[in-house]
Symmetry: C2
Subunit: 258 residues, 2 copies
């Protein structure tokens, strides 16, 4: 008997195939930090959790492999991709280069429709930033979404699919670091002011200024994450409840636990 159960998709996913929804769920759990960096991903446990077959789960994990959110080794299964300060530092530099270039092209090529997207995205971002001071934790999903939309809108007039592709990948990676840092503690920073400055420079088509400000903006994120990660290296605690059993891979700096 092999009836497809077609269980209700975990969250708000309406992906068609089971692989796709498992992929979405797993990605969300990794990005949000619920699945911890370096953690072993045992097929058996995940299989039961998501109520899917072994191959289906395996395929979902393989997709994440291509996005560098999980690692895979020989006959030793999958792990959540580890994080490290040096990785994030590297990531930040490369992302600065890519996003800046995309931005340059976009601001130069942007038409009226582009302006409209930027204005709209900035407005929505501002709204959520107002509420960010109090309940940083609660609305971090909202904020991340709109922050991504804003950055995306800014470069949306860039005509290069490859720049978009690479940028999306790097942005997702850095989003992971940001969210992991956010969950731990929130380091205040006037991120709204930075966004506003970028926004205004974009609309007056001051390319050099937009690029410079965005570069600094990205760098500031590095600073914040650096603070959190170095501080947490000492503090961490094992997660309560039925958690995925795991061994800390040898010699990694202890950003393992969130």
């Amino acid at each position: 008997m092999t009836e497809r159960s077609q269980d209700t998709p975990a969250d708000g996913e309406r992906s068609r195939t089971l692989v796709e929804s498992a992929y979405s769920s797993l990605r969300h759990e990794i990005l949000s930090g619920h699945l911890k960096p370096g953690a072993k991903l045992r097929t058996e446990e995940l299989r039961l959790r998501y109520k899917i077959g072994a191959s289906t789960l395996r395929e979902a994990l393989t997709r994440l492999l291509g996005e560098a959110l999980v690692t895979a080794e020989g006959q030793r299964g999958f792990r959540v991709a580890p994080i490290s300060l040096s990785d994030f530092s590297d990531l930040t530099n490369v992302r600065k280069m890519i996003e800046t270039e995309a931005l340059r092209q976009s601001v130069l090529a942007g038409d009226e429709a582009w302006e409209g997207r930027v204005v709209a995205a900035f407005y929505r971002l501002s709204k959520v930033e107002e509420r960010l001071a109090e309940s940083a934790q609660a609305i971090s999903n909202d904020f991340e979404q709109r922050n991504r939309d804003f950055h995306q809108a800014l470069i949306s007039a860039c005509a290069s699919p490859w720049l978009h592709r690479l940028n999306a990948m790097l942005y997702q990676q850095s989003e992971r670091y940001r969210r992991i840092s956010l969950v731990n503690r929130d380091v205040p920073r006037d991120v709204h002011a930075e966004h506003q400055a970028i926004y205004e420079a974009a609309l007056v088509r001051d390319v050099e200024r937009v690029c410079r400000l965005t570069g600094e903006h990205i760098d500031n994120t590095l600073s914040v994450v650096r603070q959190v990660l170095t501080r947490d290296a000492a503090v961490h605690e094992p997660k309560p409840g039925r958690s995925i059993r795991e061994r800390t891979p040898a010699g990694k700096h202890a950003v393992e636990k969130i």
Copy 2:
């Protein structure tokens, strides 16, 4: 009855898992152009060809998805990623940026061991380039291998894993275009002279010159591929033979069969 046959790996692959060797074989077939851009990848057929299970094949294809060598849609299976002039043009620009930056860092940071790798790789490349005139087709595998090694050696002192990762991806993509062009017809170009110029500039640590030359080098490849692709766009005709299971994706030049 589920015995593992562990058939001899296709070529020189000694990958551990079946997924890995299927992945390698498929990648090679796509890069070499044996599997044509845009072609449908029917699981049934491939399954029989490689003598592996459905899920195993599926996982191998999913890996290629992450490298943008295949595309996948909903419940409609996999296809070899299509190619186009505009894609290659875009690819070339982005790759120029990435590889140039990696090169800059590498030449600045390169130590004696780096010099050694560059010298060795250049020597091996030169050897194969001597023979390139006659049997371009026959030794294209050799040439591509050593060409990749040479470019890799040049940037091997770059300390950024992300630059390496992105560069590897872009290089592989452009390799695909180069090989497809090569198989069709060979457009002569004094590629050896270009390599030599880059080589010499690298060894005397003339960063700006290395980057400029490499940029031009990459651009030249674009020109060559452009010639071949535009020429072939006309030559090919949808063969009216029986049972065209294959719809040429809209407006693509028909590089289906090589």
